[in-house]
Amino acid sequence: MTTLHRPRLLPALALALLAAPAALAEDGFPAVKFSGFASIVAGQIVNHAAPGSDPEPGKSGPIYLADWSNWGAYSKTLSLQPESRAGAQAVVSFSESLRFTGQMVVRGTDSTPALTWAYVAYDLSPEWELQVGRKRIPLYYYSDFQDIGFSYPWVSPPPEVYGWDATNYNGASLRYKTVLGSTTVAASVFGGKETVKESRYMISAGLSKADVTWSNIQGGDLEVTKDWLTVRGVFIQADPSVVDRLNSANNYQQKMTAYGLAANGDFGNLFVLTEFAQNNRTSAGYETKAPCYTVGLGYRLGKWTPFLNFAEYRETTTNPSYAPVSYMRPSLTLRYDVASSASLKLQVDRYLEYRGTAFTTDSTVVRLALDVVF
């Protein structure tokens, strides 16, 4: 199954190649840089309350959804499938200011390689950068590097905040960064569109052949770092719609606005990661709001990093026929840096529902992850 839309690569490549000859004369160009990442994650539900039922055909029992976007669901059987993934990236620099970046990812939940990034970047000046092509949506703080397990302290970013029906888009973004004394500022605006064929996210609605489209994606973010503090704010709007290829009665259209505020403090050994976000959707006159937050505290002890986190997700709706979902989840992660580019993590999650779904129930999940970058 292909979850990510096959991109229109040709325009991006053509642009890169057209601009290339002028740059070829420069010293050391074109230059190619290859890199990659992988996370091998094993996990299972170790105990649970009342039984839930897995909506995927041929499966039974309750699940714990660690990754809504790709339907990475753990069950009572130990599995490597839900979150294991590997990616490879190539950056071709045609000059000091023109680059093409391509990134492919394979997942346990989708063995067909998906093109997650394919864009041309042009530095208009040291401060301004234009990117055109396929990219990840920079929705919340970890969204655009969510696959890079090595870069964060959890096994995966909290699904309370990071679990939406589109993760990538085809479009353009303009980014600005500058330094004001000891303060660094980065801001961007972006816009585009995404279609996810046979979205695995829609398994949650019992739809196995539904396409999700986010059209009219428009957003902007601002990130400020000073000394130990990093703050990022984001606002985004889009028009999500669903087309069920099996039954058009399931089709719908929405208007979405979302905003997020992340504040991270790094005090050397002690560090704090917090994020608050809210996703609002209007459909057929009804509004559903989903505020969520995550708060985590970590301490670096040489190669060891214990990390304690608490996250919560609470939906409210004006639609009387929709049962809003709410849950909370304390978790404890122990990270060990095996090498400067590899880490092992053990995480225990206690998932507790205020009001759950038919396929989940209060449960305890244990995961072990090996994250590498190269």
């Binding site: 840089k33 890199s35 990442f37 990616g87 990236q89 950056v91 970046t101 990134q103 990034w117 864009y119 970047a121 040291p126 990117q131 990219k135 990840r136 920079p138 655009d144 590097f145 696959d147 890079i148 090595f150 870069s151 964060y152 980014r175 960064k177 330094v179 004394g181 000891s182 660094t184 980065a186 770092t225 050397g268 670096r300 190669k303 840096d337 090498a339 400067s340 580019s341 880490s343 970058v373």
Partner: protein, 162 residues
């Protein structure tokens, strides 16, 4: 500037086989030893270098950190800046990031993997060894890097980091 008092040498009593030295003196010796060790690491010090063609002669610790984190891409004087790294696992690299940026190698790798895989930046170019670093830095005023003090020659200048 202070001048330490003369410190008596500890003496071994041949009868009791005990070191005779006052507690104060042993504490003071320990402090002196620390100072000496500190002094020794200054001798084997990692220094920050640019080309002699670069007009910059000093940077604040913040400015240095911003350049090696890819946050700033120009010197405060306006010229384009590009950091260069020593190979992973070398003592110069560990000492540089530990001393000036207060970051371990794993933290730096995590930082760059976050940027590199989300289209926000590329980690510095890595050169084979100190002599390559000195050669590359000397040829272009945009480069900034770090080497052991012993590897510095007349083609590069050592920056003062405040």
């Amino acid at each position: 500037m202070f001048r330490p008092d003369p410190i008596p040498n500890p003496t071994l009593d041949p009868d009791t086989m005990e070191w005779t030295m006052t507690v104060h003196a042993s504490l003071r010796n320990a402090l002196l030893l620390l100072l000496l060790l500190g002094g020794a690491s200054v001798q084997a010090q990692t220094v920050v270098i640019v080309s002699t063609k670069n007009p910059v002669s000093k940077l604040t610790a913040d400015q240095l950190s911003q350049l090696f984190l890819g946050q700033a891409t120009t010197y405060y004087s306006g010229g384009r800046a590009e950091p260069l790294d020593q190979p992973e696992g070398t003592s110069s690299r560990q000492e540089f990031y530990g001393k000036y940026l207060n970051k371990s190698q794993a933290q730096m790798k995590a930082y760059w993997s976050k940027l590199a895989f989300s289209g926000k930046g590329m980690s510095p170019m890595v050169l084979a060894n100190s002599s390559e670093v000195v050669r590359k830095v000397a040829e272009n005023p945009k480069y900034i890097s770090y080497v052991d003090k012993s590897a510095v020659d007349a083609s590069v200048k050592v920056l003062t980091i405040q």
